[in-house]
Symmetry: C2
Subunit: 253 residues, 2 copies
DNA sequence: AAGTGGTCTAGACCACGCG
DNA sequence: GCGTGGTCTAGACCACTTC
């Protein structure tokens, strides 16, 4: 007879050292890592775990929530708690400027997008400055959720001058392909990368727990002429993305 | 008479819509952002907030903990809850290879390190492969906490072949400066960047809440000859770092 | 010693999902 | 309808800081 999930929980009550919820958390973590429970398996209900481990349900929830935030477990309201599927990491280069669409196609992944926003708007003061808009010129905003192999990967919010993209509704797949057609494909871009904890809305869109780590990337793209083409704020799932950069010895300056 | 913190909490009880802890969380967040309470100020105790807002202390803690994780508040056991000081973001280039020490000196920041580990060790199998070690060769490991202007910024764990750094104890400031002396300064490096939620130990070292977002950077550095000099795993505070990269149009390949 | 955050409990009700 | 997770309560004790 092999070790069961219940045995794991029973050990928690007897053990000693450190807060209860941390011991419980490590027990569950070990059970997942050791393969005792596999991706997609359901855990016992919170009430059952509490009864077996002889702790209160509040304590069970505290242990589980840490694991949910770290992407190890997934909770579905009304349904149960499950071991999260493993997400294969995607690598993206930080030195060559490639489009998301083309990048994924090269990897043979099925890509689709859900539109969050798409149209022409009156620019915010910030947008006017960044894009160098003439007065009264509108901006095209396109925001979408990027989904690869049915897994939400990133939220992308781009804004461009209306003169560069007069008809944002015409974008179907790749923004860069569209820019190509009109000779406005950028040749250079500056990116700022930072780590953030996801808020409730973005977490819901990406299908992860609020507070999960993500990469926030702000990109400004330039034409060969030096004119700014687009300004994009993206949020990438931390558990699904690795960015790869090649560095060279900096000039002594 | 101006609006006080207590007024803010009293409004929560009356309001409607959404869970209590979220309404309370937003109230505190607004009070911080609007400048009603400033960096360093103490909040009322959890018990006081609970009494004023007429909610249970558990609910107060849930609201506060979200703000702690996002770096807006700081809690000190036995002392109180305070508004977090603003951390000025540091930018680091992702295209030129510069040393942390030199980078900070250029900005006029006071830099110091606390050693976490420094010495010669028997390599792990993984290290042998990465560094291309001859059999029986040892590895030098140096791990340190990087502190700029008395604010912990990053944890850096480097490993090098003993033949390249025979005396890790001799490192005082810059690893790269030491490598320079022996003609082993790298000219090229590959970096992988990902977002993670900090675990308890790393969070404690960096002085932030467990679960806070951070950037994990794995770097492998090469000599002109192609030999690997060092392999470094670093963890950078997400609220203190912006990495900046310049991208160029990718070759169609 | 007094006050603070950290942990824990037992029990309640609500909102969602699934058969 | 039943079981699940989500929210909330009132009260207890512990560990730590400050005086």
């Amino acid at each position: 007879m092999s070790v069961t999930m219940e045995d794991v929980f029973r050990q928690v009550a007897g053990g000693s050292g450190g807060p209860l919820y941390l011991r419980l958390q490590k027990s569950i973590e070990d059970a997942v890592r050791s393969g005792l429970v596999k991706a997609g398996d359901a855990l016992p209900s919170e009430r059952d775990i509490a009864a077996i481990a002889d702790v209160s349900r509040v304590t069970v929830r505290k242990a589980v929530q840490h694991l949910v935030r770290d992407g190890i477990l997934i909770q579905r309201h009304g349904s149960g708690t499950f071991v999260a599927p493993e997400v294969q990491k995607v690598e993206q280069s930080l030195s060559s400027l490639t489009s998301f669409t083309e990048d994924m196609a090269r990897r043979g992944m099925t890509l689709r997008s859900e539109w969050l926003e798409r149209g022409l708007y009156v620019p915010s003061p910030e947008e006017s400055v960044i894009l160098g808009l003439s007065s009264h010129e509108k901006v095209a905003r396109i925001a979408r959720l990027r989904i690869a192999n049915e897994i939400p990967m990133a939220i992308e919010r781009a804004t461009l001058a209306a003169s560069i993209l007069p008809d944002p509704g015409a974008i179907t797949d790749s923004l860069y392909a569209k820019l190509d057609e009109t000779g406005n494909r950028p040749v250079r871009a500056l990116q700022r990368i930072a780590a953030i904890n996801l808020g409730d809305t973005d977490a819901a869109l990406l299908g992860v727990a609020p507070g999960s780590a993500a990469l926030r990337i702000e990109r400004t793209s330039y034409l060969a002429s030096g004119r700014i083409v687009e300004s994009t704020r993206s949020v990438y799932r931390g558990d699904a993305y690795d960015f790869v950069a090649e560095l060279r010895l900096g000039a002594p300056e």
